[in-house]
Symmetry: D2
Subunit: 363 residues, 4 copies
Amino acid sequence: MNTFGQLLRVTTFGESHGPAIGCVVDGCPPGLAVAAEDFVPDLARRATGRSRHTSQRREADVVEILSGVHEGATTGTPIALLIRNTDARSRDYAAIADSFRPGHADYTYWQKYGRRDPAGGGRASARETTMRVAAGVIAKKWLAERFGVRVRACVSQIGTHLPQAFDWDAVAGNPLSWPCAAQVAELEAAMDALRKSGDSVGAKVTVRADGVPPGWGEPVYGKLGAELAAAMMSINAVKGVEIGDGFGVVDTPGSEHRDEADAAGFFSNHAGGILGGISTGQPLLCHVAFKPTSSLRLPARGLDVEGNEVQVVTTGRHDPCVGLRAPPICEAMMALVLMDQALRHRAQCGDVGEVRPRIPTPP
Amino acid sequence: MNTFGQLLRVTTFGESHGPAIGCVVDGCPPGLAVAAEDFVPDLARRATGRSRHTSQRREADVVEILSGVHEGATTGTPIALLIRNTDARSRDYAAIADSFRPGHADYTYWQKYGRRDPAGGGRASARETTMRVAAGVIAKKWLAERFGVRVRACVSQIGTHLPQAFDWDAVAGNPLSWPCAAQVAELEAAMDALRKSGDSVGAKVTVRADGVPPGWGEPVYGKLGAELAAAMMSINAVKGVEIGDGFGVVDTPGSEHRDEADAAGFFSNHAGGILGGISTGQPLLCHVAFKPTSSLRLPARGLDVEGNEVQVVTTGRHDPCVGLRAPPICEAMMALVLMDQALRHRAQCGDVGEVRPRIPTPP
Amino acid sequence: MNTFGQLLRVTTFGESHGPAIGCVVDGCPPGLAVAAEDFVPDLARRATGRSRHTSQRREADVVEILSGVHEGATTGTPIALLIRNTDARSRDYAAIADSFRPGHADYTYWQKYGRRDPAGGGRASARETTMRVAAGVIAKKWLAERFGVRVRACVSQIGTHLPQAFDWDAVAGNPLSWPCAAQVAELEAAMDALRKSGDSVGAKVTVRADGVPPGWGEPVYGKLGAELAAAMMSINAVKGVEIGDGFGVVDTPGSEHRDEADAAGFFSNHAGGILGGISTGQPLLCHVAFKPTSSLRLPARGLDVEGNEVQVVTTGRHDPCVGLRAPPICEAMMALVLMDQALRHRAQCGDVGEVRPRIPTPP
Amino acid sequence: MNTFGQLLRVTTFGESHGPAIGCVVDGCPPGLAVAAEDFVPDLARRATGRSRHTSQRREADVVEILSGVHEGATTGTPIALLIRNTDARSRDYAAIADSFRPGHADYTYWQKYGRRDPAGGGRASARETTMRVAAGVIAKKWLAERFGVRVRACVSQIGTHLPQAFDWDAVAGNPLSWPCAAQVAELEAAMDALRKSGDSVGAKVTVRADGVPPGWGEPVYGKLGAELAAAMMSINAVKGVEIGDGFGVVDTPGSEHRDEADAAGFFSNHAGGILGGISTGQPLLCHVAFKPTSSLRLPARGLDVEGNEVQVVTTGRHDPCVGLRAPPICEAMMALVLMDQALRHRAQCGDVGEVRPRIPTPP
């Protein structure tokens, strides 16, 4: 279960402080141009050490393409990508190798496997998400070239802070991936204060895909929303997922929630682009809750592997708000789900052809 | 993709107004006592027509066991369960057979397959969840007998109504599966008013499993939370899923969120019983958002299959709050996920044995 | 693992003497005409009781379509097929319920599950193959209509008897599915003598698909030949599978075996239509070895469930040569593999288009 | 479909002349000792360039363990293995880059993907089997340590040469993996003559597992024999697979074929250790047919990618009998199937416990 997807299958491997991390992307159609430099932008967005608001571990994140690409294009065979770990600092973990850090997977790995690799969190580290981002680059590229689909994500809540405006064009221009430029200075100050306090905070990420044609998704267990939910919830630190209005549907009357339409198109998109598990053609909208980092300088009470009560202080390099680096990860997971569903759709319904009428989807 | 699970695999089939619905449960260990009457209680909880707050379709929901059970116990071969549909009233759908009901899967099935079975919503009907409940009965039974796991669900929000108290023992005693007996009369009145208005409302369901041992779940893509999220989001009308504190984590400081412990046990359960995708041994907690029914007597604007603008009025028998019947469905999906993960866990880690220390989980 | 296939997924259930057998066919493209009478011819070819050379159990084999077909055509949702068992005679098995019949699965089921359903062989009975044939009817129909593929099988060896001529048109005209009409009388006499002797004999079945386009199959673990081998070897009583020249390749020089070609086409088809796991466009050829029935009136030495030595005599109704009824089963399995691979191929390579040059495949 | 197995999942990647080949082994139980040197013996047995009877490509085949092993033992997370290609000589392929070599996958890859990586056969090269052998080392080790299972293979036919004696102890002592030492000199001379002639020959390999407990395998589509057949047929150049007596069953009477037993054990093993898809506890026996190499110095008639008739002469380094290097590959595939089935068996039947009686299996 280190493999994700049915037809586009991504298998990741590697530990935070092991020699390397990597992935195998299987099932990609032939003929897609892929080069090592394609991975640079998204990996940089996910990387630590690029702003003062993230952990200061600095990984080069250089992708080596080991297979599946010939003369610059995919061949249809598995694409293996490798990134060597270059800035692991395992000594930070020596002191806590025998303790279970509260809020971390230390205890549960120990219970499951009877052993664990403690350095840097081992396999449970967010370092694993690097390869999701790399695989997602391939999916985003294919979706864009083949269908014009565009996948974007931003941070839409940090602690109690909510955006005062929502401008997708603002997102790339600040280190918080925040959609309201006017708030960035204030938020950066809040992050600085948080970092100094030694504490952490949660965040919400909004992910959106435009251009998804109607008809993707499978109607029962393979619902598009179900696979997006699994994809997002499989990211470290995620505790909640919403499609469209999400929990807002609970106190909405049905007469308001159902997205009516006329010949000019849908009037609203409460459904977030999915009905009955299948895409409507409207923008796909997903919200994801990231918990606050549990690795803090503030001591916590826990147990060690002998069952003794201990105080755990985490001195490694950590993010005060892991959600800040999550947008490219969420984009990658959405793109992987969409590409997989696109392939599955054309497998079963490749002969259906253009279906009329299409309800327009106003922006 | 009408199959759910890896090792405990449930395949469902059937349309709302077809001759029958059914499922095949594959991978169940041998030796579990299973009889037709085992399915009665949960199917009755899910059924329509048992209170005035649900649709008045009255299905007998008699389960026939076609295979996999010999002399009252499972043999290890696939268990096929069949329920004949007995109260379909397809004439209700004649008027809307060529229209896309807003908020329904009519349009998306049409786009995906180029055709659809309109009667009763066809495969997209909540009738499909009957077989999830039936399959879930087997999983609940095995989990209870083998591990002492107990799975329960209740309605924890209806529209803007929140429980004033949370008493699991109150849930079975009222037709709303509500955890606060004192509020039931007021809520029933609100439901009566809603029904008369012709509108509908959403609901939140809380699902909980007690007794799950630590160590279940797979750490990366097969995270316990990811599979629960997919399971819940695969239920019709679900738009949001939370594990533990869910979206509440966004504005919680990390120093508070991480569940500390001492030798007497965990101090809190913000994580909802899952860390790093693996169970902690604490109660497993999940919240699920159900959207309001879109089938209303109130007319809605939409299109027909020719692209003409139409007014859609739904005169069939419908629930004003589908969430009210959802608790047994949510329990079933959680039980299916847990049993599947239990089997997967012992496949890989069957030799690990009892792992020390176990952190106690105070109630 | 009662499910076969990746994208076209067939799940079968049912025991030989249980109330019913059935299957769920998931992933079929929408719009394929399917009716109950479509199943009659192939089920009749597989059925017992139609000639004196087979078991005299007479099952009606009436297929009820429970789902997935609307107005005579598939909708894209799962197609459930049900056949009630009507001629089970379990008393035949009372005497051997506690014995392990040599050459049967009695002992291995007992070892695996710690229990078994003895009536008629339970799940291990060849009755299970009925549903493979039913599912195969759908696959054959789709392959024929969509690609012009034709799948055929015949018996090509019975004991030491080999065909003196090979005429596909002769196969349907005799109860032995034999490709040389001139030999049929002699073979029937041999079968009569065998039946009277109480013994049984093995058979070889040849399966062939014409019209398979080049490009189907996946190059490594999903090789077309690998999936055909698994498909055939999953049929009861099969002990060997060959693609093309099969074991004949061992003493063939490479200069002869490699199928050369010029612009007029391939000169030979030693490869049986597969190179590197992918179809060449030539006829797909597969040979399958069926062992002789182990259920004989002649007593055999074995053990009972207490470990006592016993003499086992099988008095039920059995086939002296199970291979005689195998051609439609082998056709079904080949068709299921081909349809599944066709769907997978267009998922990944749906944009590749017509590839030049195509090497002609002379008949 | 570059992944093999259900619970023990091996994903391989890499092209013959690419930078590296590798695999990810997922699902391995924790606590198995694994070190880089464990891979040396089997990789050496599979390697070219170790005797004059194989291709003279000399690869170092140094395995780097990238993940999943901590302090010398598996952790339960994916084990990634990497081997750099060091002796690729792509210039040999320049002349035939635009031709389809008869008997090779060149044409079928071209038809499937619309493109191909010609160097060294790309993904279709037998170089891919290196990683199967590496993964198999892990499976063999686990099977031996946990269950005492021993998996062995030898060459049991070369062209028309059959063993005059069958001594497993002789196999390791000669470069042909031949079970009769007395014949080796004569066979080596025959191989020398063959090499000089420029032609090639096929071979049969026999694979055997001792110590497999009864009960492994799934009774319908996941039959042990079906999965072995797929595993073997997925190896390059394989055209036939037999379990036990294989095609020999066709002319055997049932009274002889069924393996009778008394309290002292089975009298014979015609079934090859499998009944009803489940292991009997007897030695597991499998025979595999390898076709002769199609890459020959002798010219062959074929087409180029423009459809022109060409003469193809292969000047690269090739094996005159690929079957000679196949024993460790076949062992690996059998071990992977067995370990996967062992894990699946304990998932479903982990509570069944020791089942009585066990029929002894005399050697």
